[in-house]
Amino acid sequence: MILATVFESGVSIQFYLILATVLFVIGALGVMTRRNSIILLMCIELMLNAANLLLVAFSSYFGKADGQIFVFFIMVVAAAEATVGLSILVMAYRNARTVDVGIFNKLKG
């Protein structure tokens, strides 16, 4: 059985715009506030998910599946980014024994 879309039951597309914006701002806030580099990567994932939510919402609103294909590509990029980012962090932890992002200041010449 295929349900009717939520837009037919009175939810406006503005609700999803606001929801995705709030999620994105929470992610950006986390990147700015936290110093644990693993949580920084997690907040980036949160921002990517906000973009995904908006793509799916508009895809459903217009009844076209193209937006959902883009969600898959964003997931691919997020998975690649998470693996490489985490391996960089593990290597940095091995050398500096901390996950503080401040250690990357040492890269300054």
Partner: protein
């Protein structure tokens, strides 16, 4: 009417658990709240008739990526005591910056005019795997193939970076 209330409750829960990711002090607790957030976003996808994306989101994000994060966190054995803390000035400044970003974006969205759907979509099957698979392997086949190159690069990079340096020299 009841679907509308359900959607609003889901949105509120999503925002709440996303806030807890940023606010909770313990890293493991942050990861758990992020997994909850991904499940709630999957529920939002189901409400939006994107069933396949919802399942893939659950498997890839909550299943694979978050397990990777959890694994690394447990490997590094972090605790609440050695959690790095940012200064009060940084917290106030980032709260101000984030608040003003939210204010500007919401003020821009408030006056937005979204195009109405030209023709009414009769079947809502666009989120099912048959339709998505057909689109992925016809219209978007080139980006699909290019993403495999990205994955190869990510695999090679991750293996190379995570290896111990002495092993690389030998």
């Amino acid at each position: 009417m009841s679907i509308e209330i359900l959607v609003y409750i889901l949105g509120g829960l999503t925002v709440g658990s996303a806030l807890m990711v940023v606010l909770s002090k313990h890293p493991i607790r942050s990861v758990m709240y992020l997994i909850l957030t991904f499940f709630l976003i999957s529920a939002n996808y189901i409400m939006l008739n994107a069933q396949f994306v919802a399942i893939v989101n659950m498997m890839v994000y909550a299943g694979a990526i978050m397990v990777l994060f959890l694994f690394v966190l447990m490997l590094l054995n972090l605790s609440k005591e050695n959690e790095p803390k940012s200064s009060l000035l940084v917290k106030i400044a980032s709260a101000l910056a984030g608040g003003s970003l939210l204010l500007v974006l919401v003020a821009a969205i408030k006056d937005i005019v979204v195009l109405q759907v030209a023709e009414k979509v009769t079947d809502n099957a666009s989120g099912l795997v048959q339709n998505l698979g057909h689109l992925l392997f016809t219209k978007y086949v080139l980006p699909f193939e290019v993403s495999s190159i990205l994955f190869i690069a990510a695999i090679v990079g991750a293996v190379l970076l995570a290896k111990r340096e002495s092993q690389i020299i030998e």
